[in-house]
């Protein structure tokens, strides 16, 4: 895994898709590719109330990525200093093997340039000390970006509170 972690607090996400818009705008993408995507699960009736979950799907920046192994041209790479997996457009020829190899559907096709695009945690922004575009615009602040060792124990605390409320 990369040095960074992009955590979505699913409970707080309202599915506004701001993250998707900011991402596409930052990467100047046409219709089609969704480098990050909010996938809606549901709605489903829970205790007679319709409920839906909005799952944020970026790239997971695997420790040992299939896409990098699959890429025949060396365009798909894992950055040594922080483990961010990214695609070098100068080397990408558009064979789409990374797209087929990824079990999570992270690499996307940009028909305008005939090359693959994927989430790279906005590495240019990260290098400047900024957060990725998606995390910057999140209206409910449910997207948290940081180093793996700095992540807030949100879920753990929430569970603890729920346990405590029983008493």
């Amino acid at each position: 895994m990369s040095k960074y972690y992009l955590f979505q607090d699913v409970k707080n996400c309202i599915g506004c898709h701001s993250c998707e818009v900011a991402c596409k705008s930052n990467k100047d993408l046409p219709l089609g590719p969704k480098v990050c995507q909010i996938v809606t699960i549901g709605p489903r009736m829970v205790d007679n109330v319709p409920k839906a979950a909005y799952i944020f799907m970026p790239c997971f920046h695997c420790e040992d990525p299939w896409c990098v192994a699959a890429c025949p041209t060396g365009a798909m790479q894992k950055r040594a200093k922080d483990g961010i997996v990214f695609v070098d457009h100068d080397l990408c020829v558009g064979c789409k093997t990374c797209m087929s190899a990824c079990p999570w559907g992270a690499p996307q096709w940009n028909p305008e340039i005939g090359k693959v695009v994927k989430c790279d945690y906005c590495k240019d922004r990260v290098d400047e000390g900024l957060k990725p575009a998606c995390a910057t615009v999140c209206t409910t602040h449910c997207l948290h970006f940081g180093k793996t060792d700095e992540i807030q124990p949100i879920r753990r605390e929430r569970y603890a509170r729920a346990m405590a409320s029983l008493e």
């Binding site: 699959a70 064979c95 346990m163």
Partner: protein
Amino acid sequence: MEKGTCPVANNVRALSAILAEGRIPVARCRQWAKDILRLMTDLGSGRGGPEHFHAMQALAKRLQFEGENEDCAALGKKLISELQTHREVFLSHLETRNCPLGDCIELSPAPCQMACPSGIDVSGYVTLIGQGRDDDAIALIRKDNPFPWVCGLVCTHPCEFMCVRGRIDKPIAIKDLKGFAAERAMSGGKYANPQKAPDNGRKVCIIGAGPAGLTAAYYLALDGYRVTVLESLPMAGGMMMVGIPRYRLPREVIDREVAMIEDLGVTFRYNTRFGKDVTLDQLKQEGFEAFFVAIGAQASFKMRVPGEDDFPQVIDAIEFLKKVALGEHHMPGKRVAVIGGGNVAMDAARTCIRLGCEEATIVYRRSRADMPANPEEIEQAEEEAIRFDFLTVPIEIEGSDGKVSGLRCLRTELGPEDESGRRRPVPVEGSDFSIDVDAVIPAIGQAVDKSGFAPLTDLGWSRRNTITVNQASMETSVEGLFAAGDVVSGPATVVEAIGGGKRAAEAIDRYLKGIPQPKMPPVPVRRQRLGSLEVPATTKMMLNRPRMQMLGNDRRRVTFQQVELGLSEKRAREEARRCLRCDVCVRCGKCVDICRNKMGVDALQMGYLAFDEPGHTDFRVAAERCILCGACAANCPTGAMKMEDRDNERVLTLCGTILNHLELEYCRSCGAPLGPARYHDFIRKRTEETGFVTGDGKLCIACARKTTARAHGEVVTPTPPV
């Protein structure tokens, strides 16, 4: 190909760079610049319309005069000056949809079209013939050449020398296909003239009814002019009629194509020689406003050897062929020597055989390889048992009592190269010998007979005694007088004369309408963008250039029957399928580079793409190795390489050649096509080391994401124990 030479491509590159570097920060100005870039890109890719140029000019002006700051104004000024300086090039891209330098890659023209002196859209008509649309093919050819049938029989086909298919095996039989389609269209009654413009009442006079004159007459008549053609002979056709023998070009062919031109309202005045029967001033008084001189090169060069003028049996080839064409079928002698190695010499010798001469010998001072005649003609002459005396130069015509008895010759050796790039023949001292002949036909070259033009003192002549013209507009030094064909080029080919005639017609139209003449030579026009004929790779490789059916040799020795019997329909349609469509595929080699050097698959064996050193080509290799990843298609700049899914298969084609097709696998969740098993095997092998993936990997990316998201979504905070 030299990069950065076409002003259109240059400006597209420069403007893209300026915009990419963010040098126009004001949004309004940036939008104007972006619009100009879009228009210019359209223009450089053949999608531009007639208003594109003016729209670019208007936007550039706004940039200059309404721009927010100096940078905008400077860019506007620069663009206006670029558009002005290269106006002709920009407009030519719009009109011809060809970029002669190939710098605008989508407008890179096919080599065959660029090689054709009359600029025919060869790939277009070859494809139409492949589709069985012979009459459409003829209509397409006649946009650039009103004599598809004549050219289909006698053209020297420079296109075939440039044909890219020749680097794989043999060039496409372009000439024969044209002849095939013309004959079919004519006999089917579908050889039609295009719509003529309304009569504009203005009169143009054409001097000479040869290929150049008739071509100009055709295009001027179509433009609505009243055209009159003067001809010294009693029939039209010029050298096509009296120079080319009937066994190569039947009279009916010329007559039918000339009739099409007559049908447009062109008037002919036969038996009328300019300068003798009628003068320029008389013609001007008749109301002719422009004149086109296309009198050809009808005079013969002299050999300048003793005895040349002493015997009636010494008859120059032009005169001889003309007499035979006009019906004088007399044998010049039993044993004839024809001097020269060009097409006229071949024609004269082969005509002698048909007239009953026992022996015809071609005497040529250089070697066989140096002969300027067409290879087909030399071959056919050899089949007809013409004798050849190479490296031989005549020095005297011998005879007595007004009768030729022999030709005294010297042997030659080839010395150093002369200015024509051929080795100069040097006579060998003391090698003289005699050939027993009773007639001699010199065919050593022609010159212009300028006798009728003596009163035109202002007319400029070159040192070679041809009329000097501006090559772009065919204007002579006399106002309103244009010239083209052999009278300008010296003796050349039918198709060159046709090209000149077409250029002159355009120039005469401009002259009479008061439009300035172009400065650059005309660029051939891409007439149509046609889809490719679909051919399996094996067929593409296996098809051979058809061998022309020939008249039997016995017949050839006694009649003037046409020697080349034409292609059968089946062979013609098949031949069209061999075409590589170089109007679409520009042979940049990107696909091969990516497949071999980037992907490591090496499925594209296309050695013909290398111009200088063509390697081995075999389209069938793709079916064995190609994984159908589509990288070649994704990077093809012109869309020649295409990958599509149809009928349960993923198919890769290059200009219609089916390189590979494999059965598709589908997403097990939504049924979307994923790719063939070979593609997935390729990926599996590469990712084996990475680790085990749950599932079978048969999910499309959308479903893969959804499935993962669902797995995450199901992780709800566990309900605490009650």
